[in-house]
Amino acid sequence: MAIITLPFRYLEQLTKTDRTTILDRLPMIGSEVERIQDDHADVEFFPNRPDLFSVEGVARAMRGFLNIETGLPTYHVKPSGITFTIDPKLAKIRPFLGTGVIRNISLDEESILSLMGLQEALHWAVGRGRSKVAIGIHDLDSVKPPFHYIASPRTRSFIPLDFNKSMTMDEILAEHPKGRDYAKIVKDFPLFPLIVDNNDNVLSFPPIINGELTRVTERTKNILLDTTGTDQKAVNVAVNIICTAMIEAGATIESVEINSKEVPTLAPSERTVSVHECSNLLGVTLSAGKISELLKRMRFGAVPEGKDRVRVQVPCYRADIMHDWDIFEDVAIAYGYENFKAEISKTFTIGNPHQVSVLARQVRSILTGLGYLEMMPFTLTNERVMYDMMQRQRSTNALAVMLPISEDHTVVRTCILPLLMEMLQVNKHRELPQKMFSTGDIVQGIKTFQSIAAVSCHAMADFSEAYAGIDAVTSELSLKYTVKESDDPTFIEGRRGDIMIDGTKMGVFGEIHPLVLNAFEIEHPVAAFELDLRGVPGYCVPEDIL
């Protein structure tokens, strides 16, 4: 999550109102105030709104939301006369480049921090950890245009940021902290992306590290922005967000020529949206005029076109507007979530429980009637508990997760009994008798089914108790069964039985083998049973839908 630091003095200066007003309304634009300190607040913004990842961006939005300055912000761009070329060999490596010249900046500590914070947050939210988009910021006056984005041999060397010696790009990947962090993005390419100036001086090795040569300091007056990536749209939006934030901070922007096109333009895009579609979606009747007014408070340009249409200009920094409904959400936010009349819809429908739940409820009623207490263990377990401790053969049917969180949670349970044995272990210091059951999902292969298991632990627990228990459960479930001597090593030989339904084993019961008791550190006999609920007449496999 992106947590942005908002220094109050700078925020108040840019928003043109006091901190209390701002902080009070900030959550209602879509954020969470994490903490408030004497001189700043830390606020979390959603990943779909990277334009709010800077103080300047937040101030721009809040001026609109608080009705201080509404409508589309206008940004002027004039050509810088600088050109930037792109090497065609980058097509399969990192093909897209966005750029721009930022002039007349006066960087003080707060604006540098805001800019750096914005860059980092964009790397995370838009850049997917720099793989999709990476941003470099350079002191324009230390290099000479035109600039070239090239695919370079990996042996090329330069002095990377924060180092004082020249290193090859391979060395940077191995030795520089940033190189090690991001090596995985480029390491498999034969050639590496590189940005050089007209004198073949290195500006940057995207997406890894800038050169020391173009380091930005408080004395920097003009900035060259390089933004490279694998997605043109994402690259553009990152450039737009940074450039417009810098304009809000007092800078001017000049465009750069790439392939005889001037970029960036910082021009809004246009959409025409339907008034009734918006009203229907929100459940509130709104006019074209009202929608326009609300959208202006969200910093859109908006003009009613007749009764049912509004022509909307979307600011260039809004990465999230991909569908008309995204605009309608902004209408809702400006309208105020607290102002909606919350009501359930009037359509009459009849409630209907699922058969799996109905059966589970019946099973619970039977087992609690027998005096058993319900447990709700995890479905994630491991083969040691599921099989080894139960003295059972490991099953090929157990579903293994690929990157388990721990060696205790490597497979999904194929039956429930071992989990109940664990529960007895956890509770061994508690008063006996302990009678527990659990019912719920099990997974065999990739299919989900339901099962019921029960254990009874006390000095007199024996085969007869297990047999009586499962007989009560099966007869209450209208289940006709026969019993066969079992060979399940979880139970004591001669004290175990299989529940057979139409020739298929659907359950097992008996007295738990002392080897199993020892494995779970249980000191008293345990009578136990488990029943596959697929055997129940009318059992329906959960809709495995399509």
């Binding site: 919350a342 409630g351 959960p542």
Partner: protein, 484 residues
């Protein structure tokens, strides 16, 4: 009139006229055990009818080792008696008790050794030690020494001396009713009418009862059933589905971009298995790449079919909801699903890799955002939360999105999950024509609030003591048994 049990009366009767009697002789007189007599005496003493004195006696008894010497004497005696006046050390050394016995004899100065020969000191014997061993006196020096050697041990025995008080004697003098009290009525007594003339034992109600543990459902399941009931009452159909889902249904069908961080191995449990894509998958692909036939631009890039076929443990039950919608395109659809979902979280007091989610959808003509807020408000209201508010939220598959919060005393506003209207990019590929209101609410957080738990793990790895003590009818937080 004082209520007395039959046995109390027997006790008083046999004490009458005597000064003081010990419990053992009373037990044999009353044909009972000492423990029972003491119990009756205490009952009578509570009413001021007898006095009970507990007397602790200390005595010495032989230990297991001491018992071995009981017949043949202490080791030193056995060695001492093994020769007349003198013997060569080498001859005596073979005796099994030589080490202990000889050591003791030398310590006590009963023998002397000269040039490998042991001599008895004249006129001595081990008689005093044997006397201390066989009939020990409390606090004797020799006895204490034998205790230290582990041959004798000190034991305490408790005896009770019971005497009747003046009040008790008066009561006996008035005459006692000796008809035996009946505890459990028999069938014969009930049908014959003999119960009318039988004195029924009267129990004391100020004594705590025996604790009985009932069989019951898990407190968390009770809460889950409560929530299910609310949605059934509101006319929702319950849906169920498999734990294993393809990434297609879990993510792609919900317009979650294929490079979204939540789809990474770090956050989702992936499986080696694959599930083939359903018919119409290409419409989902077109939506991701270009926005299909809607006003959407799509995510751009190339949608990868292999990624969609990968299997995951469902990260939400929204995968079940969208499949239900794909099969039920005619409005109205009101459905809910309350089941386990899986996220790759390390276990701590507030995170578990599996937890319950309450998922609901409403697809109908004429429903909008206002109604979504209405359903959320209704649900939380029925769950007992009076304060509810809505903040803008963000979820990849809903637009607009909202985060409901409820007010909890002592905690303030608590976030409860996410909700929104399914994006058209989600519904259009399945030809769903009307808005779909949707929510996914964290049930375990609600359970922690309702059950007063600080540690989520207790729901799944439950202390049976906690379940036994959690009342079925909750009044706020889980309380403890009995009247307080």
């Amino acid at each position: 009139m004082v209520e007395l049990t039959y046995n109390e009366k027997r006790l008083l009767n046999s004490l009458a006229g005597k000064k003081e009697t010990d419990a053992i002789s009373l037990a044999s007189a009353l044909n009972s055990t000492e423990a029972a007599v003491v119990q009756w005496a205490h009952l009578a003493a509570d009413k001021g009818l007898v006095s009970v004195d507990r007397i602790v006696n200390k005595t010495y008894v032989p230990t297991d080792e001491g018992k071995v010497y009981w017949d043949k004497g202490l080791p030193e005696t056995q060695i001492f008696n093994n020769f007349d006046t003198s013997i060569e050390v080498s001859k005596l050394q073979n005796h099994p008790l030589f080490k202990i016995g000889f050591g003791q004899l030398r310590k006590k100065g009963l023998v002397q050794v000269k040039d490998g020969i042991i001599f008895k000191v004249s006129g001595v014997s081990t008689q005093d030690d044997e006397k201390a061993f066989k009939s020990p006196q409390l606090s004797g020096t020799r006895e204490k020494e034998l205790v230290k050697r582990g041959i004798l041990e000190e034991v305490e025995s408790v005896t009770y001396r019971i005497a009747i008080t003046l009040q008790g004697a008066n009561l006996v003098a008035q005459g006692l009713d000796f008809r035996e009290e009946v505890g459990t009525l028999t069938r014969e007594q009930i049908i014959s009418g003999s119960w009318k003339s039988i004195p029924l034992h009267k129990y004391q109600v100020d004594k705590l009862p025996r604790v009985v543990y009932i069989g019951k459902t898990h407190p968390y399941q009770q809460l889950i059933d409560e929530m299910r009931q609310i949605f059934l009452e509101m006319g929702f159909t319950e849906i169920h589905g498999g734990i294993v889902q393809s990434a297609f249904w879990n993510f792609d069908a919900l317009f979650q971009p294929q490079d979204h961080p939540a789809r990474e191995m770090q956050d989702t449990f992936y499986l080696k298995e694959c599930i083939p894509l359903p018919n119409g998958w290409d419409r989902v692909r077109d939506m991701h790449e270009k926005g299909g036939d809607t006003s959407s631009s799509g995510w751009g890039g190339t949608w990868n079919r292999d990624k969609a076929e990968q299997c995951v443990l469902r990260t939400h039950t929204t995968s079940i909801s969208i499949q239900h919608l794909a099969l039920h395109k005619q409005p109205p659809v009101k459905a809910f699903c309350l089941n386990r979902v899986y996220r790759r979280e390390t276990i701590d007091p507030t995170h578990t890799p599996e937890f319950e989610q309450l998922e609901g959808i409403v697809m109908d003509e004429g429903v909008g955002f206002r109604h979504l807020l209405g359903f959320l408000k209704e649900f939380y209201g029925r769950m007992g939360f009076e304060g509810i508010r809505f903040r803008p939220g963000y979820f990849p598959y809903t637009e607009p999105s909202v985060e409901p919060e409820v007010f909890v005393d002592g905690l303030g506003w608590v976030e409860m999950g996410g909700a929104g209207i399914f994006r058209e990019e989600v519904t259009a590929p399945f030809n769903i024509k009307y808005p779909v209101l949707a929510w996914g609410l964290g049930v375990s957080r609600l359970a922690m609030l309702k059950l007063g738990l600080k540690d989520l793990r207790l729901l799944y790895r439950s202390d049976i003591g906690w379940i036994r003590e959690s009342p079925v009818h909750r009044t706020g937080k889980a309380g403890s048994r009995g009247s307080t």
